[in-house]
């Protein structure tokens, strides 16, 4: 059903944009990692929308989580003589050779969402990524402002142990609340970024902290864990969003539904729109020849219950999260 709809939409879009595509002044090849998460799928569909908006011809190659496929795709783009290459690198190392080939062909490369390790940073034009430390800080700042000096014990659901978003989002949040001596993290445990573990760990927190009476706020490193934890809070007979404040990161559609129901308070967006700023930087570079900064940081926007969550939910639902 949805598959058919997609094909129909695809053909309609293709027909509508056939004119612009033929006249496109830019052709960009995008080597995407794959579709390992809902966010990744959303990034792909937003990239297509942003390209259409600007009349850019975007060719997407799905690498199915394999670096060799990405290298093949980049060589293919070089052979086709595209105007620029976008790369969401699946791993950090091993890109030097293929990027030198692109450089020799004078095709600028822009990194999306993740960066690479290389001794020669002239191999790419710029990198468009989110600052995960900053995301944590935005969440921390929100909590400091919201509790306004009242004492507040926070429980934290960490991401997968050792993963960089988990390390950075923890650090950022701690930076954010460092100035507020009234806020303390009393418990911190990993929920592996999943709903099921988020729920299980929250059940443990609730028991360990006087049935939840001693918890003032929950900070989860992603929305999925928060959604699981919200169920645990409800089953313990408490009101998530009122008895226990809930703040998390990512801004996936389901957390907006929870916010609309008053069960979550805030989320910090990890925007799936990495391609938009990349297109803008590319256009400016092509027009003026001036190279952009080496790092373009995407906005980490804070959403609260006041931001009409139901409307955002409807907007985000169709993006493939």
């Amino acid at each position: 059903m949805t598959f058919m709809k997609r094909i129909l939409l695809g053909t309609a879009a293709a027909a509508a944009f056939a004119g612009t595509a033929a006249a496109a002044d830019l052709t960009v090849g995008f080597s995407q990692i794959g579709s390992e998460s809902g966010w990744r799928a959303a990034e792909t569909s937003v990239s297509k929308l942003e390209a259409e908006k600007r009349g850019i011809d975007l060719k997407i190659a799905d690498a199915q989580q394999k670096q060799e496929n990405q290298i093949k795709a980049i060589r293919g783009f070089v052979a086709q003589g595209v105007d620029a290459i976008f790369l969401a690198p699946v791993v950090a190392t091993g890109w030097d050779t293929v990027l030198e080939e692109a450089k020799d062909a004078e095709i600028p490369v822009i990194l999306l969402d993740r960066t690479i390790e290389t001794s020669d940073d002239s191999l790419y034009l710029t990198a468009v990524t989110s600052d995960t430390v900053h995301e944590g800080k935005v969440a921390g700042d929100w909590l400091v402002k919201t509790v306004a000096g009242k004492p507040c014990n926070v429980v934290e659901l960490q991401g997968t142990v050792g993963s960089s978003p988990a390390i950075n989002r923890k650090k950022g949040f701690e930076d954010g609340i460092a100035s507020a001596s009234n806020i303390k993290i009393t418990r911190s445990q990993t929920g592996d970024f999943t709903r099921a573990k988020g729920k299980e760990v929250m059940e443990g927190f609730l028991k360990a902290e006087g049935g939840g009476k001693d918890i003032c706020a929950l900070y989860a490193h992603n929305d999925d864990m928060a959604v699981g934890a919200i169920q645990a809070i409800k089953e313990a007979g408490l009101k998530p969003g009122t008895d226990i404040l809930v703040v998390s990161i990512d801004a996936v559609p389901d957390i907006f539904k929870a916010m609309a129901d008053g069960e979550a308070n805030a989320t910090v967006e990890l925007t799936p729109n990495m391609a938009g700023p990349a297109f803008d930087a590319l256009k400016a570079f092509k027009d003026s020849g001036k190279a952009p900064e080496k790092w373009i940081q995407t906005e980490s926007k804070l959403y609260t219950q006041a931001d009409d969550p139901m409307k955002v939910y409807e907007e985000k639902k169709g993006l493939g999260y």
Binding site: R187, S188, D254
Partner: protein
């Protein structure tokens, strides 16, 4: 009867002592561990959490015990959980009645089990390889069914299997008890248990003795798939959504571990379903203890590995005697040396 009970308790002594020690440690780490109260019509407390969270692995372990007793192993149960959850969630969202949804999800598990049984019983693939195929492919199929997203549902009937309760007892616990009781009755009140054990000890000998080993293997793997599907329904009902990427991830290892802690040999033969269930509860008591202990999460896996080593050592020592390790290892006899030369 009481003598049989005593014999059973003696055999289960190492596991029971382990469980008692873990519960004691949990109580020391968190004095409110044994507190209980009624909350929204169901019992609420850490001990209930252990049973409730342990239920999916208990159910997996019941099926896994039968497979391991037949000298096999089923690595695909985690992926089957994800598939059954995905089927249940997508069909619920599509508006099918609860009974159809349940039958379809359980049917998925049985089909997967039949596939494994076919590969092991009829095509003589090694169980670890045969079930590895579905372990990898199954999660892909689950992702295809959910189209890569977490499919959420609000149907109260399906949710009841995860968070509902009956006489104040959480539904997953009731299901786990029912599955265990039925499986024990089935294998111990009929000849089925004996046939499975004979298959595990020596398949060709039992075939010569008239056991239809192919059909039996087919049934054993189908039963294991059925258990996995039920666990998958519980897990997705619990979070009101099917998460194809993470549902049941690595749970096949927990299920195998539960069977091993319960004392069933990976080489097949004698088995005990009740002991495997005890093993699953030990694992969950440890998990819950780690979560409420307040240790930093970096220690989770180390603590878990440490405790498991202790349990298995205790088990091994209680069987062979404490002095066994001090005795020199058996050496080759002169006769054997001559034969080899």
């Amino acid at each position: 009867m009481s003598r049989m009970l005593m014999a059973g308790l003696t055999r289960a002594a190492p596991q029971l002592i382990c469980l008692a020690v873990i519960l004691l440690l949990n109580w020391l780490a968190f004095p409110g561990f044994f507190d209980m109260r009624i909350q929204d019509g169901r019992i609420f407390g850490s001990v209930v959490d252990v049973l409730n969270r342990g239920a999916p692995v208990v159910i997996l372990a019941v099926g896994m015990t039968a497979v391991i007793a037949s000298k096999g192993v089923d690595l695909s149960v985690g992926a089957v959980m994800a598939m059954a959850g995905a089927v249940a969630a997508t069909m619920t969202v599509a508006g099918y009645p609860l009974l159809v949804v349940l039958l379809a999800a359980l049917g998925t598990g049985v089909l997967c089990g039949l596939w494994n049984g076919l590969l092991v019983g009829f095509f003589d693939l090694q169980p670890i390889v045969a079930t590895l195929i579905l372990m990898v492919a199954g999660r892909g199929i689950a992702q295809l069914i959910t189209e890569g997203t977490i499919v959420t549902f609000i149907d109260p009937g399906l949710i009841f299997f995860g968070t509902g309760s009956f006489f104040w007892i959480p539904m997953p616990v009731i299901l786990a008890v029912l599955v265990t009781a039925m499986a024990v009755l089935l294998v111990r009140r009929t000849a089925l248990g004996l046939l499975i054990e004979s298959l595990g000890v020596n398949r060709s000998a039992s075939s010569y003795a008239g056991v239809n080993s192919r059909l039996l293997l087919l049934l054993i793997y189908a039963f294991c798939g059925l258990c996995a599907a039920l666990a998958g329904i519980i897990v997705s009902a619990d979070i009101r959504g099917a998460d194809a990427n993470n549902a049941g991830l690595w749970l096949e290892l927990d299920a195998i571990l539960a069977v091993v802690i319960g004392g069933t040999s990976l080489l097949g033969g004698r088995f005990s379903i009740v002991m495997s269930v005890l093993g699953a509860i030990i694992i969950q008591a440890m998990n819950t203890g780690i979560l409420i202990s307040g240790f930093p999460p970096e220690y989770n896996l180390i603590l878990k590995a440490g405790v498991i080593i202790m349990i298995l050592l205790a088990q091994s020592l209680s069987r062979t005697g404490f002095l066994h390790v001090l005795r020199p290892a058996p050496t080759q006899t002169a006769e054997a040396k001559v034969k080899r030369a």
